[in-house]
Symmetry: C2
Subunit: 287 residues, 2 copies
Amino acid sequence: MELHQLRYFSAVADTGSFSRAAEKCHVSQPSLSQQIQKLESELGGRLFDRLGRSVRLTDLGEAFLPRARSVLHELSSAKDELSERLQSESGPVVIGAIPTVAPYWLAQRLATFSRKFPKVHLTIAEEITPVLLDRLRAGSVDLAVLALPIRGHEFDAHPLFTERLYAALPKTHKLARRPALQLADLRRDPFLFLRDGHCFRDSAVAACNRARLDPRVVFESGHLSSLLAMVGAGMGVSLVPEMAVDKSKPCRFVRIADPQAQRTIAAAVLRGRTLNRGSRALLSHLR
Amino acid sequence: MELHQLRYFSAVADTGSFSRAAEKCHVSQPSLSQQIQKLESELGGRLFDRLGRSVRLTDLGEAFLPRARSVLHELSSAKDELSERLQSESGPVVIGAIPTVAPYWLAQRLATFSRKFPKVHLTIAEEITPVLLDRLRAGSVDLAVLALPIRGHEFDAHPLFTERLYAALPKTHKLARRPALQLADLRRDPFLFLRDGHCFRDSAVAACNRARLDPRVVFESGHLSSLLAMVGAGMGVSLVPEMAVDKSKPCRFVRIADPQAQRTIAAAVLRGRTLNRGSRALLSHLR
DNA sequence: TACAATAGATAGGCACAGCCTATGGCAGAA
DNA sequence: TTCTGCCATAGGCTGTGCCTATCTATTGTA
């Protein structure tokens, strides 16, 4: 059974004539006759009675007609739905982000994006990098915003920007008024770091290492805001990315002058993965 | 878009692999790949992401899959339903019959038929011959039981049986005790006939004409039972077919000896019309 | 790092299915 | 009767879906 046979069948039922149905279907009358015969022989019975001048549905044809119609209709409506879906930026998008980006830079960008594309249904997953990469692989995240470098050659990373690192100091810290400082200046201070697994911890530790600094870690947390609260309370010092600098926090932020004290944020997608229009729009909006 | 493309698509979604899907569909992997590509280009977007080893549905594919499945399922269930319908004698049958057959011979035959084929939904239309022929032409009657001859070569008539004519006489009639009589014997009697249009009236009139009898008609009705009641009341005599002979009626029945005083009952169908199984079963049951 | 194995894409050739035109047969209209 | 309209049949052509062989890329292994 083939779809064009169903179309021919439906057309004959509509017009009550093989010739007019053939015209309607833009084929010759013999071709249409042939296909109707094939259909009939496959179904095992006549669909039409050929009564001299006119043609009329048999019982079998009467029973088959609504089914054939519904198949054709379903198919065309499915096609319409897909082309609709392809043209509009609607549809679900799952974006993943590391915790040191999600509430700062990303939150602002997503706010403007949602105003621009209200029909895109955005979901945000805040996870550490290895989890994000797994979810990219599994397809449960379309797009991940994280810090370079990432390991795994099955991803395409689009660098977004590079930002400097800042020291977060208690207001009473002796360096708190400096416009900038060297990491080595903090050699004596107790450090507050993110928990292991957070890539920003790695960035911070790497920067310390390069400055020949072996930080004494007195507190670990899963979120920068907790660290900053602790810093404000005088527990020690911390390192934060520029985007987390927030004058309203109860601590001072001083730029780290060391040239390597920086991180690069990128948007990563699984290579070969087809992004829907919403995801593509989001990607170009982030860049 | 073609049905085999939908089948291939569904198989790939099932197996998560082009090769295994091809195996399942009994085609080579390149053929299947080719068809998926055609489908994708027709729909305007990728249905699968080819990720090295594995294959995964895109958003578009995810959206299309249930539609494709439902189309395939609907088609196969329609096919099943039709073959079911072809095999069983269920389904509606409309049988037409002239009023001088319907309540007598036909009623009995239909009773046994219904016991034998309880799933056939029988409808009976009692109409005069020209109406029956119109309804055969229009398809609103599948099978008509009527008296030969019929005019119109677009019908196939299957003769069922031939029966003799009987005179219906009041019990007090002087010929009421005879085993048989000639039509000419009724030359003096007033006649009760069916209304014009009933073919049995034509049979009776024709028999009279052949006997050189010009009947004086004093009553006309649309039904034989009315005539018999009138005969019983002594209003006159009438002619009835053998099947209407009923000892319980308040009149006598005497066989007409004239050789031409008979009628032939036949089952007629529209030539070229496909009968469903129920109608075919009924036709062979009547014969 | 190199090599083997696996999976999908591509290329080229073949066969058949569906289409076409021409024609036949049949029924209804003039 | 002839004429006309309609569906079926016949024969030939083209396109398309299928095949095998091969290529490319990724993955797993020595």
